[in-house]
């Protein structure tokens, strides 16, 4: 992996394509969960990899390449959502929750399917914070930096997400 990254950093597009093949699934999963829409998730995934290519020179290897790439993807989704909100002045909602459920079904039936559906049905703010914290493993401070939300606000969103999920899953 380090060799692929080094080659890609020196401008080797074949090496970058190999990195893409390794990471596209996790980046797409993240974009799909955050956006709730398969076609948008595809666009966000492409934008994230193009941006990663342009920023490869800034990757120092201090963090895992996956974390670095996911952070770029999260920022891409957020910038797109902010722009969309400004432009249309409307609340972002999941357009196709079934797409997430379909993906989960392939991996493990039952718990995952129910949970993916329940997450997809969360209000946008609560869903975002829950995915970043519980699925992606970001800490509160990191989520605050990414989303621009105060830590107190995102804790409230996380609490709301957990309550709604437990209700939806009948726990």
């Amino acid at each position: 992996m380090h060799e692929l990254i080094r080659r890609a950093q020196s401008g080797d597009r074949d090496a970058f394509e190999k990195l893409y093949r390794v990471h596209v699934g996790s980046v797409y999963a993240l974009c799909l969960r955050l956006s709730g829409d398969p076609s948008r998730a595809e666009e966000h995934t492409q934008d994230a990899f193009v941006r990663a290519w342009r920023k490869l020179g800034t990757f120092r290897g201090d963090s895992a390449f996956t974390s670095w790439l996911h952070r770029i993807a999260v920022n891409v989704v957020f910038m797109a959502q902010r722009s969309e909100r400004r432009r249309r002045a409307r609340v972002f909602e999941v357009e196709d929750p079934a797409s997430l459920a379909t993906a989960a079904r392939e991996e493990r039936p039952g718990t995952h399917l129910d949970l993916e559906r329940a997450i997809a049905g969360l209000p946008a703010g609560a869903r975002t914070v829950f995915i970043l914290h519980e699925v992606e493993g970001y800490r509160h401070q990191e989520i605050s930096e990414i989303t621009g939300l105060a830590v107190g606000t995102l804790k409230a969103q996380l609490h709301r997400a957990r309550r709604l999920l437990r209700e939806a899953l009948d726990r």
């Binding site: 970058f16 093949r21 596209v24 990899f49 969309e84 493990r108 999920l165």
Partner: protein, 213 residues
């Protein structure tokens, strides 16, 4: 702390966000409170299930061809301004149209021995100034986004955007001047709105561009 106080701390307890002293108090409460104990178990289970969700979901199609094409383009000929192609083209056409029109108006008036078309701006001119407000406010808001994200765009891109916004501002300025002289001219009003719309289109294109970088 009463029961509700303890309940309000359970998220932080599960997330490991409590100080040692508070955590010990909460743990002491958990030993005696079945309801809070059950809630903690549910929160832990939910977090574990979420962490075990599939890390990868393959897209329905291969996304690489478009990525490969985009990264293959040299920076200077990158289609980074592609989302702006129509607004920029409109801006160029607009400048030509406004310049020609205002020149024609001035020449016509000089030839006809007219000056300003009727003295100082009347209340009619105040009307179109007020009508401009939504455009100028929208442009300011979009411009603020551009300013916040300047560092995300290539210097060449910024230079081209600024040059085109300057063109449009020039068009707006020239049309305003002409309207000062003749506030009732419907063609000039239409040109002013077109210029404002062109500016909004360019700035919206910039916003989309920022979102895609």
């Amino acid at each position: 702390m009463n029961h509700q106080d303890f309940k309000s701390k359970l998220d932080d307890y599960v997330d490991g966000e409590l100080t040692d002293a508070v955590r010990e108090v909460v743990e002491s409460h958990l030993q005696t409170c079945a309801e809070c104990r059950r809630e903690v178990e549910e929160l832990v289970e939910l977090g574990r299930d979420a962490a075990e969700l599939p890390r990868a979901i393959e897209p329905q199609r291969d996304l690489w061809p478009e990525i490969g094409e985009r990264i293959a383009r040299p920076a200077l000929v990158d289609r980074s301004l592609w989302p702006l192609r129509y607004p920029l083209a409109a801006a160029a056409v607009l400048l030509i149209a406004v310049s020609s029109a205002t020149t024609a108006i001035v020449v016509y008036r000089l030839g006809a021995g007219r000056t300003s078309g009727g003295g100082p701006p009347s209340s009619t001119s105040a009307d179109w100034l007020v009508a401009e407000l939504p455009y100028t406010q929208a442009a300011e808001e979009l411009r603020a986004t551009l300013e916040e994200n300047r560092q995300r765009l290539a210097p060449e891109t910024i230079a081209r955007i600024e040059a085109n916004l300057e063109v449009i501002d020039q068009a707006i300025g020239e049309t305003r001047e002409a309207l000062q002289a003749d506030p009732a001219d419907a063609n000039l009003r239409r040109m002013l709105w077109s210029a404002h719309q062109a500016k909004i289109d360019v700035l919206q294109g910039v916003n989309r561009l920022i979102a895609s970088t």
